[in-house]
Symmetry: C3
Subunit: 236 residues, 3 copies
């Protein structure tokens, strides 16, 4: 059985322009293994209530996924974007109520962060196309998978070490990983010695991939992680 | 060349709701390797004749595939769903004439079964959304592939042994496998000893996958099967 | 990270018929690893100017790709199809101005060929459905990837030797390979001895795949090619 990370996409962009395809392209370049499913792009323009209802109706039929929704009459104002974790899934979009019903259906928010970390955005960002410039890039960067587990139980993620700073992973930050059935918040460190024995940590491993380990222990066994486990990663 | 199993999808659901995406999600969770191609979802509501024509027009351009079509003004009545094998492909939908022209184009029906095996349906089933609850789950469960062939020529399918009862595979049933260029009907048994030497059988192998073998023989060679061969599986 | 070759598709076919799905099916059968992204199929019928604008707007967000566009009021006349290389990407469609703006955005044409090589078309070709019969088959056949590099640095492409004549690859022809960051034109030959030491060549290797080599040298190192490098291949 192939592993894939599911990203759903719902907007009011319509189907007559290239907007939807451009968002797909941006996400696929960041995370080529994503399988993107369009929920609908025919939400009536700016109709947050309708978008929220359709999203909430769809979510229960998906596996743990990253759900991106954009119905955003306030784009370009001071209104912020948000990522909300709920029930093993992640919801990304404008903080205008669009995501609320779906988050409730998924079991309620366990964490929410504002999308203020510009390192996760596209490099050039416009005032009016946040689906392309903010929501899709952030969503694609938050979606990671367990790639391999070595014989010590260290868990290598699908995130190159070279991309770590861009994802906000710098020494001293806290990384929260969430997957279907669990979550853990660990410090991002340079060496194992920075945490006490038996404590978990996140670091750039010897092959220069971002990895999760337990000092003197077995992270895969401790957290029940195995190759293909799909996770979302939030840095605070 | 990557192997994939092609599933096509044609409905009158429209593109404004989450109906199509929900059906994709249901099928992908059952069978993650499926490649789903939407033929159209803009068949005029309830227009069986138009749906039949569009489906028949599309089918010749696809490889052997599972074709799911839902234009179903009679949903919720006693009318049954049906799966029809024709020319290496499988057609799944309501038994209201929608599939007929496509089946004829594919070479004519070689077998048809009513979708009465509730083990193949979604666990919760509604009266009005058979695309999600019956047609897609059944179609996804009927689509299997040869995963590996061992050195004895035993052919392991992409169906975990644990899912066998749910697919109707219990001792005493007959399994009909159809692929591009062949078909075979074999008994589902517990041990090789239940069939005569030289006879084919279907069983749960030592790794607990559903497999096809020939007692004292080489099933892969006998039937021309190799890793990646796409099959449909019907239990009677 | 999975490798894939991206093909985009823009037309005025609409979404109510099977036209788009049939084109997907044709391309996927020729090149199963293609990831096809629909840009839009709702260009107003025959509106070349609008199609050109939408395509040009989308292209910058894609990786090097094969872009197929069909808005073609002149289908069935003597007007020819064209394939244009620009900036590591390939643009395929009618030679009526539809591709021009996108080619300019991609950095300008470095090569253009008329699609007169019938070996690359579908076997049966109609006067009115060039998307299915010419543009998609040609595009899918021009898209190849590096599959493996052997220890001598010979570069095996994702094109079976048996398909070489059909792709126009016969002794004496010149093959131009283009990828992100480079291009090379080499003779198609039967044996290494037909070129001078140190010269590059294209041939059917011992496993009967189309491959690129340097006589007495290392083609992978010379051209910076590695497994997964996506190329387009034009024969002149």
């Amino acid at each position: 059985v192939a592993q894939f990370h599911c990203l759903t996409f719902l907007t009011d962009y319509g189907l007559e322009d290239a907007f939807v395809a451009v968002c797909h392209a941006v996400a696929s370049q960041i995370s080529p293994d994503l399988r993107i499913t369009d929920i609908t792009h025919l939400v009536p323009l700016g109709d947050i209530r309708r978008g929220a209802a359709v999203l909430a109706q769809a979510v229960p039929y998906f596996p743990p996924a990253v759900h991106v929704a954009v119905v955003d009459p306030g784009v370009g104002t001071a209104r912020l974007g948000v990522a909300v974790q709920a029930g093993g899934s992640l919801f990304v979009g404008p903080d205008n109520g669009l995501l609320s019903a779906a988050v409730a259906v998924a079991g309620g928010a366990v964490r929410a962060v504002s999308l203020t970390n510009r390192a996760l955005w596209r490099e050039t960002t416009t005032a009016t196309f946040h689906g392309r410039d903010i929501f899709m890039p952030v969503a694609a960067r938050l979606a990671v998978e367990v790639v391999t587990v070595d014989r010590f139980g260290n868990v290598q993620l699908s995130l190159p070490g070279a991309d770590a700073p861009r994802a906000g992973l710098t020494p001293g930050r806290t990384v929260t990983l969430t997957w279907d059935g669990g979550e853990v918040a660990v410090p991002f460190v340079t060496t194992f010695g920075e945490v006490a024995p038996g404590e978990p940590l996140c670091y750039r491993d010897s092959g220069d991939w971002v990895a999760v380990a337990v000092a003197g222990g077995d992270a895969a066994r401790r957290f029940g992680l195995r190759p293909g486990t799909r996770m979302t990663l939030i840095v605070t």
